[in-house]
Symmetry: C2
Subunit: 189 residues, 2 copies
DNA sequence: AATTTTTATGCAATTAGTTGCATATAGCTC
DNA sequence: GAGCTATATGCAACTAATTGCATAAAAATT
């Protein structure tokens, strides 16, 4: 079964460079993590499993004071796992978004609360879009001339940018339509 | 803590009508489930918990042959739980999408495999968009004249439609850019 | 000098989600 | 009449993800 995607995300991050769990966690915060979030606890646990399964090597780097660094690198087995996952895995993890569940409550709960949730979401999208744009301007102004191994990363970023844009426009349209909702019945009709 | 969203999704589905676990599972397949998937096993388990917590009532409807129906309905406590969840919960469950992790492998794995994954995804988006459009044409041709309690559902659908459209365009652009990738090095450079 | 942030690792407990299985009848199709 | 689909419920086992806690020192900030 090629299901546990966190391990694949970790292996992917190790393609470019050998990393410690700590460094991996940071990577997840700034790039891979835009599309696959994970906490450091999860990452450490997963690394242990990957090591046990021979997908990664560990090099222990003694340090004074701090815990020793454990620098992980891909093994051939790890690469193979990654490649075969790319080939077979299809399973689409269903979208889960609370906001839409909230929207199903329009008409039964004060609209105000729901518009508030949308406004919060809008702010979030704005923040993300700005972040993505910044990254784009810094590293991906000329997609066609990128080295091959950067093209996928760029495309992910592009997807992120467009998702945020679409979402932002939707937020405004949603807020518009919700101004036409007057009643807030609390009982079932 | 207002975290477990499946229970909120269930309570939301019960706003409109009283339902059995089975009927809920079906609802999840066709509307709420576009934005929050759940298996029948999950739903039955959750219903039990909600009942234990006094958020829903059960009415047992004896049947011959088949297991007795258990028809669930919201209690006042359930409504309150739902409303307070709408007010406080903010937590954005991070997007998790395998496809983007796959994209990070461009340059290290045969591009073919990745374009294939995108094509699969494209087909999926096409299928979903068609489905959403069908629902839109059937029930939501005139958003402004909808009864209030349908407006949120419509907005969810609208979000779905736009997400799929955006994703489809992106798929094509991605496939385009990936035609410019020639090399498939399997070793770290 | 004291506080906060960053580096660096990890365990334990809990909650959420998936997969496989089990039961049992009615009704429809081949 | 054999097999499939729909109705209707649920347990058990497992995998994945989250949350809270714990340690410990260097570096940066106030």
């Amino acid at each position: 079964m090629h299901t546990m995607s966190l391990s694949h995300a970790i292996l992917t991050a190790l393609l470019d460079e050998d990393l410690t769990g700590y460094a991996l966690a940071k990577q997840f915060d700034v790039s891979l993590g835009f599309f696959w979030q994970a906490s450091h606890q999860q990452i450490y646990r997963e690394l242990k499993g990957l090591h046990l399964a021979g997908r990664v090597n560990v090099e222990e780097v003694p340090q004074h004071g701090k815990p020793d660094k454990r620098v992980y690198s891909l093994t051939t087995l790890g690469r193979d796992m990654l490649e075969s996952w790319i080939v077979d895995s299809t399973r689409a993890r269903g979208a889960k978004d609370e906001l839409f569940i909230k929207l199903f409550n329009v008409g039964s709960v004060p609209v105000k609360q729901i518009t508030l949730a949308i406004e919060q979401r809008k702010a979030e999208h704005t923040r993300k879009l700005e972040l993505y744009r910044k990254i784009e301007m810094r590293n991906y102004t000329s997609p066609l001339t990128l080295p091959d191994r950067k093209k996928g990363v760029y495309l992910s970023l592009l997807a992120g940018i467009r998702q945020e844009q679409t979402a932002l426009i939707w937020c405004d349209d949603a807020l518009d339509l919700l101004t036409t909702v007057r009643s807030n019945p609390k009982v079932k009709g």
